[in-house]
Amino acid sequence: MERIINSLFGMTHWVLIAMVVAPILLGSLTFLLQKKEKLRTFLIWLASAVVLVGGILLVWLSAGNEENVVKVWQWKVSSSFGMIGFGLEAFILLALLYVGFKIENGWIVFLGLIQTGLAIASHFIGTHPESLVIFRIDNLTRILILVTAVVGSAILVFSINYMKEHEKHAPEGAGSPGRFYFFFISFMGCMIGLVASNNFSLFSTFWEATTLCSFALIGQDGGEARRVNATRALLINSFGGVLLLGAVFFLKLNHCGEDFQSLTGSSITVLPAMLFCMAAFTKSALFPFQSWLLGAMVAPTPVSALLHAATMVKAGVYLVMRISPHYSQYTSFMMMIAFTGALSFAGAAFLACTQSNAKKVLAYSTISNLGLVVACAGIESPLAYAAGLSIIAFHAVSKGLLFLCVGRIEQKLGSRDIEMMDGMPYKMPFTTMVAMVGMMSMLLPPFGMLLSKWLAIEATIHSPFLLVFLVTGSAFTVYFWAKWMGHMQIQGYHPDKPVEQISHSTKFSLGYLAILVIVTGIFTMMIFRHVFTTMAAETFPGLDMVAKISSLYREQAMFPAYLVIGCMAISLVLTAIFVAFLVRKKNIRPPYLCGENAITIEEELNPEKNKSGLRSYDFYSVGGKVEHAVFSSYYFKNYIDENRVSRYMNWISWLSMIVLLGCVIASIK
């Protein structure tokens, strides 16, 4: 047994390759066998199991066994073998050019050509070292692999039933489900490749591959709106690709090397680091590049979930987190990175308040959280860095869950408008409960998201400029979540226990994520203390950071999170007791409508007459006419125009980009 395990440790690189290749193979298989529905379902289950088990196995193996604890796992190959990376890069760039020609978009072709030129130039300039570290797994990578595996597999399982329904009323000209699954499953493989690769040519290969996959998935349903939005996503991300390859070219030109170890923090590498960060902003859809992520909402919901929670946008913040610890001495540079992040945090939260479209609210909230991660990376304190890491992890689970819930609600209700979500606890009890868990986890004290926000604010204390943005942004966050949570809870009294029609795969995926949210929520403090802080301490080079972090973090670590959880538990138990012993049918009254209630309580309790569960709110108006009350939240529609505010925000963020460039040029001298 031991021998098997030990030999497993020797095979980590094979597991990694399998994790990248197997999803692509399984995706192709699903594409080929899409007509056989049972087999297709089986393959999807298999793929999600492979991703989940493989991801966890990879994390475990790369962490090393007891005798041989390795913080960083590397795979070194000879230079000629490393050329494979260049071949793949060339292949993917050709694919990009092909797509550009096919959709007849000159800009994409132009950007693709620049990328190809840069890639070829950076390959042939200078000399290659004798051996290359092509894959490298450290703590940051492990978190992202876990996120992709755990959340991605749940989304994949959810998509089984969703796509079945979706197929039935898919618009004219929609792609086949096989096409969908091919790109969907390959996406996860590419993401794992992206975070694990160390060599720039492999990195940009996977970078472009995720861009192309997202382009294909956004355009899945065909039609003009999808085409426009998919093109925009491709265009913006290609621009990011140009920045990325430009940085690689610059590094190569200055003989700095061709992998992430070349970003040492020396002054010559500051400009490429900035270009990397800007490329990351396009991928993470921070202001001013936010438009592609909002447009991506036209895709089927599992795609949005995958883009937002598990993969695409996380790649961007991953890059920033990867680079930023080495550049802490360039204060103004880091300050501007943090400023861009904080601007996105507050701006996106503000715009989320004006939206009634559930998916758009989620999209803005994602941008807002990613902005917070970038701000954390820029603050340059180990505490903030740890907070950023924990946002990446916890946000993925909560947001994945929420997107899946919205997807399900959208299919059942036929609308993604928050205003239409009335009587949800009666119509869809399970989904509502799960969605409430997801939303609570965004705001409730012990849960990861709030913990991270808390630590971020505490870590920003010495940069007053950022603080204003963080404080206002967090107030807006409470505002838009509160509106939505209230809407989800609107209900009447029902004597019978409502039952929801839900398929097993959907219930499994939602329940799995919800349990994950609750469990991680309960153990947040512990996870944070033992995982994220130590990681952050190891990440920052130099000094005795472990000692420093414990002194910094001692106050926060003592917070008695168990009291909060206990409080929650006591209230729920007491509620159960009250419901069992105090709630009697004779005590139920309809709400106060000045006595003009149009329906008696008997009628309301009669399920025959009150199918929607909402008739109790009808009232007699002038002349005995029965009116149905309709309520709406504040959306500031008359005060704030989304487009105009976005335009202003974009101007400010372009301005901050220019300042960023200025800071970098100043720091080179």
Partner: protein
Amino acid sequence: MSKFTGKSPWVVHFNCNSCNGCDIEFLACLTPLYDAERFGVLHVGNPKHADILVVTGSVNKKNMHVLKNVYDQIPSPKAVVAMGVCAATGGLFADCYNVVGGIDKVIPVDVHVPGCPPKPEAMLDGIVKAVEILKKKTKETETVTEELPVVIVKPKELPAEPAAPEAAKESEK
């Protein structure tokens, strides 16, 4: 518990079909001159928080279900004060075609305060009397109102449109 009930009677005021005379006088009770709050009286605007329902005016066919609804939404123990003669018997309006009569036709009444309108002192006295009755009631002595047919006065239906002239001519032929 009855001790506390007596010390904090929260009042909801319902204008049933009144000429507003009693209402103005009743609101005058809250002014510094009469100061109903020294008895712990709070004028809450809704039945769900109230202990005492003060009704002014007679009941007509259109608002009897409203009165009953408001009464039913008060958590027991609760007391009802019929303020003024209209609330007691229908008063001046008793013979109107649409008037049902005093409010005791619809809900049980504990205290009648006579007058048209009653003086504020009489009103305060009525409320204090109601408090005495309220103290004796408990949660269990809830008076269930009988089920009333909901009477809604609907606008008169418009007469059917006269047939179009062509159609009329055709029918003549």
